[in-house]
């Protein structure tokens, strides 16, 4: 047998594809797939937010609130057990409902220590009010407006919609019941106190609140005082305050609310309803210090 030298075939073991084309194909595939996942998560999240049953919402709320309270304050500070103020606030909120109708979930009110006047609502009907808000409130009308605004978010399910895509994971976590560890999923997906709403959602919550106070007090007088005062304080860290975030603050807001009231023939002036004495102290008793 004679040896006849032949050259190697160069390409037999190498696929003739340009590395950049290969990379482009891979990036494209991954990108398109990512987009599909992102889009469907968004769609599922929106669907969940709009159609979630009260039981699921309550479960999610429980998990979220548990985490939030652990971060924020020891349960004793919440005064859930001894403080009677949350009960008062809850009654105020429930008075916005017409007789015979009630919220889709039992509402819960918590008072948290915070240097900023703020209120926000978490999924599951958990309403948080900061101590500073109670200290600064000058009439029941303005406190009622703030609470009704949060209730507006609740009724419009904004607090669920605000979770967006993470709602899918949170719902899954609560359905599969990762036990106490659902907190891990939730903590890593969202920052609760900075949950933000769109401008439209805020405007609708405002309109809801205005209707509510007019129905309760017969007029919208004094209801916007809280915002009027905040307008004077320029140095507030606005984005951190739910009540003020995502607004072209606050002049526009007050104006558009006044216009809203005028357009519907609502009465815009009237007497202020007084707050209970010592709202800033637990159980309305004289403050310890």
């Amino acid at each position: 047998m004679d040896y006849i030298p032949t050259e190697f075939d160069d390409d037999i073991n190498v696929t003739p594809v340009h590395p950049l084309i290969n990379l482009g194909y891979l990036l494209g595939t991954v990108f398109v797939f990512g987009l599909v996942v992102f889009g469907s998560l968004g769609a599922i999240g929106a669907h969940l937010a709009a159609h979630m049953g009260p039981q699921t919402e309550a479960n999610i709320g429980k998990a979220l609130v548990g985490d939030f309270l652990e971060d924020k304050a020891a349960p004793a500070d919440l005064g859930a057990a001894e403080d009677t103020r949350p009960e008062y606030l809850k009654k105020l909120i429930l008075s916005f409902y017409a007789t015979g109708s009630k919220p889709r979930l039992p509402l819960q009110v918590y008072i948290v220590e915070d240097a900023l006047p703020n209120a926000f609502i978490l999924p599951g009907g958990h309403i948080f009010v900061t101590s500073t808000l109670l200290e600064q409130a000058e009439s029941e009308n303005e406190l009622a407006f703030v609470l009704a605004h949060e209730l507006g978010h609740f009724e419009a399910r904004d607090n669920l919609k605000g979770l967006g895509r993470s709602l899918v994971f949170i719902t899954l976590a609560s359905l599969l019941d990762f036990g106490g560890s659902s907190s891990g999923v939730i903590n890593s997906t969202i920052n609760l106190s900075s949950m933000s709403y769109s401008r439209t959602q805020e405007a609708q919550a405002d309109a809801f609140a205005l209707r509510a106070v007019v129905q309760k007090y017969g007029h919208s007088g004094n209801s916007l005082d809280f915002f009027r005062r905040l307008e004077q304080q320029k140095d507030l860290p606005v984005p951190e305050i739910e009540l003020l975030s995502s607004h072209p603050l606050t002049e526009n807001r007050i104006e558009s609310l006044e216009k809203f009231a005028r357009d519907r023939g609502m009465k815009t002036t009237g007497p202020a309803t007084a707050l209970p004495e010592r709202l800033e102290c637990p159980s309305f008793k004289p403050c310890p210090n």
């Binding site: 030298p5 190697f8 160069d10 073991n13 696929t15 594809v17 590395p19 290969n22």
Partner: protein, 147 residues
């Protein structure tokens, strides 16, 4: 943003330098393959009678190759979707041919007329980087030269 810039630099470096050196290496491989083509290599010999010869000796050629950032990134994307990792094919091809050439060139310098029982093996050198993508592969070619 800073991460993105670093990433872009690494990708450009990997691709630019990587493909330039690959081109040069292939030119070199082809030239040397032509030069050494006159000596036949065979992989029989283990259980067959050897040709008549005066001397025989073992020759080993080995090369360690590693990937570049561009290839690693492409391969990690490929890991997501599956399929042929084409970016590594040239790498392995070059390594195999380089190791064979090193073995063959030594044997020719010794005066080989034929190289028998040629075998190729490889081992991966992952060291501390196991599982992190950065790997090096050693490719070893060995055979029995006769003269």
């Amino acid at each position: 943003m800073e991460n993105l810039i670093v990433f872009a630099i690494l990708m450009a470096l990997g691709y630019g330098v990587g493909s330039y050196r690959e081109k040069k290496h292939y030119e070199d491989i082809r030239r040397r393959e032509k030069q050494t083509l006159h000596v036949p290599m065979m992989n029989f010999g283990a259980k067959q009678p050897l040709p008549q010869a005066q001397d025989s000796a073992l020759f080993v050629g080995s090369v360690v190759i590693t990937s570049d950032y561009f290839k690693n990134f492409s391969a990690s994307l490929r890991n997501l979707v599956g399929g042929r990792v084409t970016v590594y094919e040239t790498l392995i091809d070059r390594g195999r041919r380089e190791a064979t050439l090193r073995m063959k060139e030594q044997a020719i310098a010794w005066g080989a007329t034929e190289i028998l029982n040629v075998r190729l093996e490889n081992s991966s050198i992952s060291g501390q980087n196991r599982g992190k993508g950065q790997v090096a592969i050693e490719i070893i070619a060995y055979g029995t030269a006769v003269r």
